[in-house]
Structure formats: structure tokens, C-alpha cells
Symmetry: C2
Subunit: 119 residues, 2 copies
């Protein structure tokens, strides 16, 4: 469920090196492309940003529905983001809360780090 | 042609704040989603990584065709990456050279930076 990260016993390690370090293998590209594709839709990106920027890095659907699409469409996109491993969710009482895993965001950022040799 | 960056007289500034800083506006999401979408294909991501990791941050088509697809398909994907503003190209003699703009990669990385308030 977290395609960019693989459990390594004590925590998680990124799936892939920085894009500038060496050419990606086919497997690495499959994994990372899934995540980029999930963010490659404006509505999904707004929802992801709304969750990521919300207090504590988590938000209820009730907090983030202000993106100009219907509630079922919001739910559909949140599901896609979960399937891509970018969000996790947890039901508490009436509401489902969505959370961006900081480790996933950090792994995504590292993919885009400049390697000194490529500068 | 560089959707993530806007000329500001002396250089370029990123289009958008970090994803964790505040919810993206519709315009910001359109711009950044275009870039993520361009990287959301495994073959394009391998080609992008091949260029980004090549010596000097640039590569000839002759250097990067080893991704298991036909030459026309390689050309098609390189064109898409150019249209998304992720690569630039320049013809020198027989060959076209592709280059990742370091400023674009840096801007992409900044989108994924964690804001302290969201940690």
C-alpha cells in the first residue's frame, strides 16, 4: 500500500534512488510512476495538498471538500490517492480522517534531489 | 514551456508553494499536475531518469534508447516531457541533446518539502 517505501525491519526505505543518480530500472519506474500519476490530476493534487497542509497533516473529508467537485467525486479521488499509497485513512466516529505519511512525502522529495554529478 | 517556473526578471520562481504549506489553488494544481502527469508513465520516467543521471545532466537520444521500446516511442515520450517543461532539447550536428533544467528539478523537489506545521 506504500509503493514508494518498503519495510526494512526497523522502518521504511525508499523504493528508488534519486532520479539524477542513475537510470531507473523498469521495476523502479513502475513503482514511482504510479505515485506521480496519482498526483497528475488537478483535483487529486488539490485534495492531497489540502490534507498535507491541514493541521497535524491530517484532515476529515468535511475539512477538504471545497474543490468545486461533488462529494462522490471527492471520495473517488481520495480512494485513488489511498490506492497509490499517498494517503492513509482512519474512521473516527462519524468521519473518516485522511493523513499524508511524512515518510512518503520525504521519499518523494528525495526522488527529485539533485545528485552532485548531474549538476 | 516551463510550467513550474515563471520568469521573474532575474531568473525563475516556482509556480507553487510546497504541497504542505496551504491548499493549492485551482491554477496552481493545473500547473503542477501537468508535470506530475508527465512523470506518471514508467517509460517516460525511465527516459527522464536516464537524461537526469547522464553526465552533465544531458543526453543524446543515442545514449538513452535502452528502455525496451521502439525509437518512435522514445521520441514520442521525449516530446511529451518537453511539452511538460521537464526537458529542453538542442540539435548539435546529427543528434538532438536533451537536458533536465536543474531549476525545474529543484522546483519539483520544493513542492514536496515538508512544512514544519504539517509535521
Amino acid at each position: 500500500m506504500l509503493p514508494l517505501l518498503e519495510p526494512d525491519g526497523q522502518g521504511v526505505t525508499p523504493c528508488c534512488p534519486p532520479l539524477t543518480e542513475r537510470p531507473f530500472t523498469a521495476d523502479e519506474a513502475e513503482t514511482a510512476a504510479r505515485m506521480f500519476k496519482a498526483l497528475g490530476d488537478p483535483v487529486r493534487l488539490r485534495l492531497f495538498s489540502a490534507v498535507a497542509s491541514h493541521e497535524g497533516g491530517e484532515a476529515c473529508v468535511c475539512d477538504i471538500s471545497d474543490v468545486g467537485v461533488s462529494q462522490p467525486t471527492v471520495s473517488h479521488h481520495l480512494k485513488k490517492l489511498k490506492e497509490a499509497g499517498l494517503l492513509t485513512s482512519e474512521r473516527r466516529g462519524t468521519w473518516v480522517y485522511y493523513r499524508v505519511e511524512p515518510s512518503v512525502l520525504a521519499a518523494m522529495g528525495k526522488l527529485l534531489t539533485m545528485a552532485p554529478t548531474a549538476a
